[in-house]
Symmetry: C2
Subunit: 163 residues, 2 copies
């Protein structure tokens, strides 16, 4: 099945989905955040077909989200490490995981809790916050499009609220 490309869609969300909007990709990145670096370890944990994993890793390297580091032991083996661009996806993964945990809990309740490593204290739920740190509800947040001063809603104005 050929998927329609979002690349021509002039929307930053569509651009992001073009790269990471694929079912396996965020799970591969999740494992990279958990310290997985080698092909066989990704493959064993995810149970993903080797050719699919190979394609997904190549794409993530090509996009500068993972860096491929050949092993000093030589041969064709390599490790995959998150770049700054890859690490910048961490809030997305945490937010999506918190949402999944809240609305699709396991049979025994919450599956996972993110904590500050040093203190062991839970982190805050990921929320959109004003400059002074107040959490904002969707209806309190508007968008501005610096490019042309219009917003993407039909009939939208320069600064407009969302639902």
């Amino acid at each position: 099945m050929k998927l329609k490309s979002f690349q021509d869609m002039d929307c930053s969300l569509a651009q992001a989905l073009e790269i990471v909007g694929e079912r396996w990709t965020l799970l591969i990145l999740r494992d990279a955040f958990f310290g997985i670096h080698r092909f066989d370890d990704f493959q064993g944990r995810l149970g993903i077909a080797r050719n699919i994993l190979s394609m997904r890793l190549a794409r993530l390297v090509e996009q500068g989200i993972l860096e491929r580091r050949p092993l000093s032991t030589g041969g064709r083996r390599a490790e995959y490490h998150l770049t700054a661009k890859g690490k910048a996806l961490h809030p997305v993964l945490v937010a999506l995981t918190q949402w999944g945990d809240r609305w699709y809990p396991g049979v025994c309740g919450s599956r996972i809790e993110f904590v500050e490593r040093d203190s062991g204290e839970p982190v805050l739920p990921v929320q959109v916050r004003a400059g002074d740190g107040r959490a904002l509800a969707p209806r309190e947040i508007g968008v501005r499009t610096p490019g042309d001063g219009t917003d993407p809603r039909p009939g939208g104005e320069s600064t407009s609220g969302t639902a």
Copy 2:
């Protein structure tokens, strides 16, 4: 192409991706946050095939992310509105959009800026924060799995850091 289901994977991220890890779904939700409620408006903005849109909307309603409200004018027409569960995805969309805007800017730079509606001031970049509001880097964040006290890393401990 039959996609492997993530539903059996006991991971909150996988559960979330099972529901919203589809290329169109987050764009439909984006438009819902922009105040789009009707089938024809979603269809016109997204350029998505009607049968695909129809399936995606039905799934979002079935999962309680959108609520279908028949129009008082009667007939088969309806509006789709975000539920609390749907609105809880807003931080995910904002975080992913900010990432796309940062790493895949348009030809004229940033495409979109989220602002506090009342003040017009930009919101903060979505980040994972400690209880006192400090932004935390991925390496400062660990996970705890309340269910069984273990972590999903091979050889991982009860509280462990991420990359």
